[in-house]
């Protein structure tokens, strides 16, 4: 790393790449979200709850996809909050070409759109499909697996808020253990959702050997945008799994949406990584590691772990999940002591002057 006479980094940008924007870096390296010209794919007036992580995540993803595709993009949307809060007939918040399918068939519909475009010779138009975790890991799972198997040319984005939120917070295959939902009440010896069940769809997607699989959260915009941009540059089936906190379903303050997502990654409970053709290629290292308890404490869905009495046994099992992630993905790896520029995908640091999304080196 280039340093000054006193050993300080030559490039140091105050907020590094953590904040949405940074007036000190080259405009070409700035985030999509910081631009006045961003697409605002999901515009104001939608009916999402205050502080909705899914609404935020969808705008982050689609704005980046719009920039990457220069606006030539078709979106297919499964039923779920994202569809219901954005498009109550005859009104819509979408400012992209957008198609609503059913709860369970967005991957199949997207496959069809891709096939139709191919038949029309429109290889300049890309297809992005999106759905909630219920639509993705549960009811739409067969269609998704088929899409992966055929390597259909679709970027599929799952917004994981850990439950069927639209219909009133029921458990899904992505609900974490011990979380309370309407169908996993905080009663009995093992309150909340059971341990040992559920589906890790990013890893299942990797097992399909698709070109690209990545996870991300709404707490790390630069990482998310870089992943969308990279995914949009590839063809075939690509899968992006985005953690989007839900203030209503998680029992969090509406102002804590980004914070709680950040704690999910900083505790290791939600691993952020990317994989190509079934192999993990990069991970986002933890910056300031925290015990999983810090993540749990903010959430009403885990309140029973602290009241009326503390459930250290359950907290320890959740901590074990985080520890296992940290081990499996090497999340505790070298943490950049000095952030010198916008972070590319999964924490790779790029220097000023490097192309957006370029992966350079670790400090």
């Amino acid at each position: 790393m280039a340093t000054t006479s006193l050993g300080m980094p030559v490039k140091f940008y105050q907020v590094g790449s953590f904040a949405v924007g940074n007036r000190l870096v080259d405009p070409a390296l700035r985030s999509v979200q910081s631009g006045q010209e961003r697409a605002n794919a999901l515009t104001s007036g939608h009916r999402a709850c205050q502080g909705c992580g899914e609404a935020l995540g969808a705008r982050y993803v689609l704005d980046a996809a719009m920039r990457a595709s220069q606006g030539r993009m078709v979106t297919v949307n499964a039923t779920g909050c994202l569809e219901v809060f954005s498009t109550p007939y005859p009104e819509t918040s979408w400012r992209v070409a957008w198609l609503h399918s059913l709860f369970g068939n967005a991957p199949a519909v997207a496959t069809g759109v891709a096939a139709g475009l191919r038949a029309l010779g429109r290889d300049d138009v890309t297809v992005v499909a999106q759905g909630g975790d219920g639509g993705t890991v549960d009811i739409g799972f067969g269609a998704l697996s088929g899409m992966f198997e055929r390597n259909d040319d679709v970027l599929y984005v799952c917004y994981d808020n850990g439950g069927y939120m639209n219909t009133g917070i029921q458990r899904s295959g992505a609900t974490p253990p011990a979380a309370r939902t309407m169908t996993t009440q905080a009663v009995g010896a093992e309150p909340g959702n059971v341990f040992g069940q559920g589906k890790d769809v990013p890893r299942i997607a990797m097992a399909h050997d698709v070109p690209y699989v990545a996870t991300a959260t709404v707490a790390d915009l630069r990482d998310l945008e870089a992943k969308v941009t990279h995914a949009m540059s590839l063809r075939g089936s690509r899968y992006l799994h985005v953690l989007v906190p839900c203030p209503l379903g998680w029992g969090t303050a509406s102002s804590d949406t980004v914070k709680v997502a950040r704690l999910a990654t900083e505790s290791g409970f939600f691993p952020v990584f990317e994989a190509e053709h079934g192999v993990v290629t990069a991970v986002r290292h933890i910056r300031h590691r925290v015990p999983v308890e810090e993540y749990l404490r903010l959430q009403g869905r885990y309140a029973h772990l602290f009241r009326p009495e503390r459930r250290d046994d359950v907290i320890a099992r959740l901590q074990a999940i985080a520890d296992r992630n940290i081990e499996r993905y090497g999340l505790a790896g070298p943490v950049a002591a000095l952030e010198v520029g916008p972070v590319g995908r999964a924490g790779a640091l790029i220097e000023e002057g490097a192309a957006p999304g370029a992966r350079v080196r670790e400090v």
Partner: protein
């Protein structure tokens, strides 16, 4: 219109749906006072100029700085930087090196020859400033900026006061001091040197409309130390003065300095440089109670100065002093033990504080002197109308920084005083005739260059309570409109990249004691910029775009570089995410008022 099968309504945008109606609290952009600015006795707002320096706009940064303080290169060397003590970054890792960046800007300005604006004399008023120390020069500078005709008189042959005759050259090179004073005088100040003012009333009779006493504290305190006839005893102020004049006094090889303040440390370090093999400070308490600045004590010890703690001097004779050991009682007060010890000493330097020579106000009606200093009101005016005083002659902490701040305040107060219709020195004006004139806040309100958004566009420092762009009053502002100070817990430190403080290089030891070369070196340009970028912009938007980014409702409008942001209350649901994720604490949530 033909619609597809089963479709009866036109497609509409959700923009018709004003979700702002859900809100019970609303976010508002605020401009809080940064702790650094709150703590600076010279009235600087470091955040404002650091902001420009972060972008590499050094001249702009310097111009913002000198709106308050015309001595950045001096300050960057001698200020004890209370701003850094207050800096919120200290809670994260280490305080921002504000002082080092200030020096960098000051040195760059000298190197590049940047000049201060030369204002016209527009008021037709003449002001006399007695004393060309930091207090008097700062007042002269601000009075010039306010359009007055200013004369500064000093008894010495060169200006600067204790900056020249007290602070040694290894801490403040005279080329730097000269450059900054010359630049200030060039704004049209009439400087009269070798011009001791014997009686301030005489001066008043020359037709000045107001006068400021900034004569400092020039006399070394004469505490009684019994001494034999052959003992060589001198006071530190005189000794340092003589060294500054190039007349190094004869001290001998073994020098004992008595006292625990900065002057004592400077005297001991100077003695080393004059060739003393032993330079010993005798102080009656312990190091943690020593009033001298810790970094200077550390530097002195590095240079070989020794300190004998918990000791007082009982007697001085030729070649030796007798010291008595002390112990601290429960209240921390030193008590004698009766245990005596001898120290070899060719000379004894007394550094027991300074006193003021106030003969020039003797018998002046209305002026009251208590405990050797002049009594003043909140406007720094003495009991005699039109006669002001500041710096070391009034009860306050005695530092260059406080002096500069007093100069600024006195200039504002004099300006307000001169704006009255019937101003006559020595006569209290009739309150009814007070005209509506420029006030204190005019100082420093020179038009800014308008780049960036350090929170100053159109705003005057005295009006910090109002948001610079919207003009809205900041919640929690005091009666005078001053906004609350931004505390660390209002920030979101996650966003600030980890970055340790850049330490200023120091001269190697060997070269330190052999001469008066400057000990602490400056930062190079990249390091200065790095250090500036460590600022967290407490309580002031620095356009990180977080609020614009994190709003799930797209209810923040980005107005473009320098123009910051606006909430779109038609759609803001009041979730508070923007408030939570604002790194600088520049957004507050306030109750929605029906």
């Amino acid at each position: 219109m033909d619609k597809p099968f089963a479709i009866t309504l036109d497609v509409g945008s959700s923009l018709a749906n004003h979700t702002g109606a859900w809100r019970v609290e609303r976010p508002v952009y605020v401009e809080l006072e940064p702790p650094c600015a709150h703590a600076c006795p010279a009235g600087e707002n470091p955040q404002r100029w650091l902001y420009a320096a972060e972008e590499g706009a050094y001249e702009q940064a310097w111009r913002r700085l000198v709106e308050a303080n015309p001595f950045p290169a001096v300050m960057g060397r001698v200020c004890y930087h209370p701003c850094q003590t207050a800096c919120n970054r200290g809670f994260l890792d280490e305080a921002v090196g504000i002082n080092a960046v200030e020096r960098f800007l000051g040195d760059l300005a000298i190197e590049r020859g940047w000049a201060l604006p030369v204002p016209e004399v527009t008021s037709g008023r003449r002001v006399l400033v007695v004393g060309a120390g930091p207090t008097g020069l700062s007042a002269a500078y601000h009075l010039r900026r306010l359009g007055h005709d200013v004369t500064v008189r000093d008894a010495q042959t060169a200006p600067g006061g204790m900056m020249r005759y007290g602070i040694p050259a290894y801490r403040l090179p005279r080329t730097v001091l000269d450059a900054e004073i010359d630049r200030l005088v060039a704004t049209g100040v009439h400087l009269e040197l070798g011009a001791r003012v014997g009686d301030v009333l005489d001066a008043e009779r020359e037709g000045f409309d107001a006068a400021l006493l900034a004569v400092g504290a020039q006399l070394g305190k004469r505490a009684y130390v019994p001494a034999g006839e052959a003992a060589r005893v001198l006071d530190a102020v005189t000794m340092l003065h003589d060294v500054a004049e190039g007349e190094a006094p004869h001290l001998g090889r073994r020098v004992v300095v008595y006292g625990g303040g900065n002057t004592a440390v400077d005297a001991a370090r100077t003695a080393k440089r004059l060739g003393a093999t032993d330079s010993v400070i005798v102080y009656r308490r312990t190091r943690d109670r020593m009033p001298a600045h810790d970094s200077e004590v550390a530097e002195a010890i590095e240079e070989g100065v020794r300190v004998t703690w918990l000791s007082t001097i009982r007697h001085a004779s030729a070649g030796r002093v007798l010291i008595e050991r002390m112990v601290l009682d429960e209240t921390g007060f030193p008590q004698p033990t009766g245990e005596l010890e001898e120290l070899e000493a060719d000379s004894l330097v007394l550094a027991l504080g300074q006193e003021t020579d106030l003969s020039l106000v003797e018998g002046v009606p209305g002026v009251s002197v208590v405990d050797g200093v002049i009594e003043v009101d909140d406007d720094l005016m003495t009991g005699r109308p039109g006669l002001f005083a500041g710096g070391d002659v009034v009860p306050a902490e005695r530092t260059v920084t406080v002096g500069i701040g007093h100069g600024t305040r006195a200039a504002r107060a004099i300006h307000a005083w001169l704006g009255r219709a019937d101003v006559r020195p020595g006569v209290a004006p009739d309150a009814d005739t007070a005209a509506d004139v420029g006030t204190a806040s005019d100082v420093g309100a020179a038009p800014d260059d308008g780049v960036g958004s350090g929170g100053d566009e159109g705003a005057e420092p005295g009006q910090l309570g109002a948001h610079p762009l919207t003009g809205a009053q900041v919640p929690g502002a005091d009666a005078a409109g001053n906004p609350p100070v931004a505390t660390f817990d209002q920030l979101n430190p996650w966003y600030f990249a980890d970055a340790p403080h850049a330490v200023r290089p120091r001269l190697e030891h060997a070269r330190r004691t052999s001469g008066f070369e400057e000990v602490v070196q400056g930062l190079d340009v990249t390091t200065a910029q790095y250090e500036a970028r460590r600022c967290m912009s407490c309580g002031s938007c620095f356009e990180c775009d977080n609020c614009y980014g994190v709003c799930p409702d797209n209810a923040v409008t980005k107005l473009g570089p320098g123009a910051r942001f606006r909430f779109d209350y038609d759609y803001c649901k009041g979730c508070g995410l923007c408030v939570q994720e604002c790194p600088s604490g520049s957004i507050l949530m306030v109750p929605e008022v029906p």
